[in-house]
Subunit: 345 residues, 2 copies
C-alpha cells in the first residue's frame, strides 16, 4: 500500500485538520498515512477518532517551522522540524510522498534539499490547480518556486504540467498556453518571446500565448509562466474572490428583500463557493522533485488535506515522476542546442 | 474652457457611445469636446441629440485603426486615423487632452510619438483605476505600456501614480506599494529587489512590498509593477469577474427558490456590479505624456466615455502634468547616482 507522510504540525489549524483529513483519506482511499509531528499531541488528537485497524502511523518530530519564519533561518536552525522529518521519510523510501500545509517557502526548499530534484529537471515548479468557467480544472505553473526564469525553464514547466494534467486531472490531450500580454507570437516580455519558439517546437499541444483574462476561461489546460507572475496571479485571484464575497455580503444585507433573496439563493452560493474554492482541489504539487510533494494552503481544512493525500497517492499510482523524467529527457535530447544557448544568455 | 478631443471611431460601439458620452459630458461638466472621425457619420449621430449651444465640434479623420490591427503596420499606413488626428489636436494646442476607446497599443504608441513624453520621464505608464473592498479606488500601474522595466522606471511610475492618486482620486497621502511575492524587503524578483530601496528613499509614503492578494484590499492606494505583470494582473481580474458572473448565474438559475432569491437580491447585485465595474472609473490615464491621454476599454459604454472626459478635464484643472514634471525632476536630482547606475545594469 502506498504510504504518504503528512506534516501534521505546519498548517494554521494543525494538527486538528491534518489528523482528521488523514483519517478520512485512509478510510476512503487505498492509502496509508504517516503523521509527522509531536507524538504526544498526535496521539491525543487521534483519540478523537476510531482508528482501530486503520493504516495510520506516527513519527516524532520535535520542531515546527511557523508561517512567519524566514526560510533560510528555519532551515539552518530547525533540524527536527515536522516538514524536514516528513521529507526524510520520502528520501529514505519509507513514504512515497509528503503533504504539508505549512510554510510554503520552507516546504519547497526542504523538498529540493532533502528529497532532491529529478534527473535533468533544472527547477522544480509549484503548480496550482485552478477552477474555470467550464467546470474543468486548469493548471497554472510556476506559482512561486522560481522567480527569475530562463526560457528553457518555462519549457520544462510546460512538459511537467502537461504530464500532471493528463495523469491526474484526466485531460486526454491538454492544451498548453504561455501566459503573456497578447495572443500573437511577437507579444510579451523578453522571457516569453524567447520561450515561445521552444514551446512551439515541443512535442505537446501548444496553443500559443494566452492573456490574463483567459486563465479562468477553461479553454487552456496548462498555463505556463515564471514564478513571480504566477504567484502574483494566484494570490490576486484569491484576493479578488475575497473581495467579491465581502462586497456581495455587504450589499445583500442592506435591504430586507435582498436578505430574503440571499437566504433563498444560499444553496446556489454554496455550490458556487465550492467551485471557486482553492481548498477543494487538494493542494499544489511541487513538480520535478523525487517522490511526490503536495503543498496545501495554510488555511486548509480537513477536506483539503484529505484531497491532497488522494492526489499524492494518485501521482504515485500514475507514475507521474517516471513520465516527467522521460518527458524532460526527451526534450533535452530534442532541444539541446537551443535550450543550452538560452540558458547561457 | 478646457477642450478634450475624443477619438469617436475607435471603440467597439463607436461612434454611438462616444457621441452620447460626449454630449452628456458637455451637458454635465464645464468642458468642451472635439469629436474626431468621419464628419458624415458624426453629424448623423449628433442629429439624435439636442446639441444646440453645446460646446461640441467635429474634426474630420478618414481612417480608423481597428482593434485587431497590428500596431506597427497601422502606425505606418494609417496617417489619417481618428486617434492620430485627435493626438495632433493635443500636440497643436487645440485640445488639452484626448480620450480613446480604440486599440490600446496604437493609442499608446501614437500618444508617445505625436504628443511626446514629459521632460525627464523615461517611460510613460498606463494606470488602471481599480475597485477595492474598502470602496475607495486604487491605482495599478504600469498595466501594459512597458513590458521589460528597469528599477528606475518603477520609481517613476510610483511618483506619477502618487500624483494622480492625490490630484484626481482625492487621496491626501496615498500609500504606495510595490507588487511582489512576499512582504519582506528581500522578497521578489531581481527587478523588485532592486526597485525596493529606490522607492524606500523616495519622498512619498512607501509602505513596502504588497502581495497579489492585497491588490483589492484597499490598504494601498498606488500599486507599482512592470507592465507585463500589471497587464496580466488587470486582465486576470477582468476574467475572474466574468467567471464569477457566469458561475453565479448558472447556479442561481438552477432552482426555483434561488431564482426567486436572485430576483429579490437584484438590487444588491446591481450595486455590487457597479462597484467592480471597470467601465465606471472612466478609463486608464497614460501618465508621463504631454497633454492628457485617457484610454478606455474597447467595450466602453457612454457612461465610461463621459467619465473619461471628466477625468481628462480634471487632470488639466489639477495640473497633473505640471506636478509630474516637478516630481520626476526632484527624483532625478535626489537619486541621480543610484538610478543611473541601475539603468546601466
Amino acid at each position: 500500500m502506498i504510504k504518504i507522510a503528512v506534516d501534521a504540525m505546519g498548517g494554521d489549524n494543525a494538527p486538528h485538520v491534518e489528523v482528521l483529513g488523514a483519517v478520512q483519506a485512509v478510510r476512503e482511499y487505498q492509502v496509508g498515512v504517516i503523521l509527522v509531528g509531536s507524538e504526544l499531541r498526535l496521539r491525543e488528537e487521534l483519540k478523537k477518532h476510531d482508528v482501530e485497524g486503520l493504516a495510520i502511523e506516527i513519527v516524532q518530530a520535535s520542531e515546527v517551522i511557523t508561517m512567519q519564519e524566514a526560510v533560510a533561518t528555519a532551515l539552518r536552525k530547525k533540524k527536527d522540524s515536522s516538514i524536514r522529518v516528513a521529507a526524510k521519510l520520502v528520501r529514505d523510501g519509507k513514504a512515497a510522498g509528503v503533504v504539508s500545509a505549512g510554510n510554503t517557502g520552507a516546504c519547497m526548499a526542504i523538498s529540493k534539499q532533502v528529497v532532491g530534484k529529478l534527473p535533468m529537471v533544472d527547477r522544480p515548479a509549484l503548480a496550482a490547480v485552478i477552477p474555470t468557467s467550464k467546470g474543468r480544472r486548469a493548471l497554472l505553473l510556476d506559482v512561486g518556486a522560481n522567480v527569475d526564469c530562463k526560457p528553457a525553464h518555462l519549457l520544462q514547466f510546460a512538459i511537467m504540467g502537461e504530464i500532471f494534467s493528463r495523469s491526474i486531472l484526466g485531460i486526454s490531450r491538454p492544451k498548453v498556453g504561455l501566459l503573456s500580454i497578447g495572443e500573437e507570437e511577437g507579444k510579451g516580455n523578453e522571457l516569453t518571446k524567447e520561450a515561445f519558439p521552444l514551446l512551439k517546437a515541443a512535442p505537446f499541444n501548444f496553443v500559443g500565448n494566452i492573456e490574463g483574462r483567459d486563465v479562468f476561461k477553461g479553454d487552456v489546460d496548462v498555463i505556463v509562466c515564471d514564478g513571480f507572475v504566477g504567484n502574483v496571479a494566484l494570490k490576486l485571484g484569491e484576493g479578488l474572490t475575497e473581495m467579491f464575497t465581502i462586497l456581495l455580503k455587504k450589499d445583500l444585507s442592506k435591504h430586507l428583500s435582498s436578505k430574503i433573496g440571499a437566504l433563498l439563493s444560499r444553496q446556489a452560493f454554496q455550490s458556487f463557493k465550492a467551485k471557486v474554492d482553492y481548498s477543494e482541489t487538494g493542494g499544489a504539487p511541487l513538480l520535478g522533485v523525487q517522490g511526490v510533494v503536495i503543498i496545501c494552503h495554510g488555511s486548509s481544512n480537513a477536506k483539503a488535506i484529505k484531497n491532497a493525500i488522494r492526489v499524492a497517492s494518485e501521482c504515485c499510482l500514475s507514475q507521474v515522476n517516471e513520465h516527467i523524467e522521460e518527458g524532460v529527457k526527451a526534450l533535452h535530447f530534442l532541444q539541446r542546442p537551443a535550450s543550452e544557448n538560452l540558458l547561457i544568455n
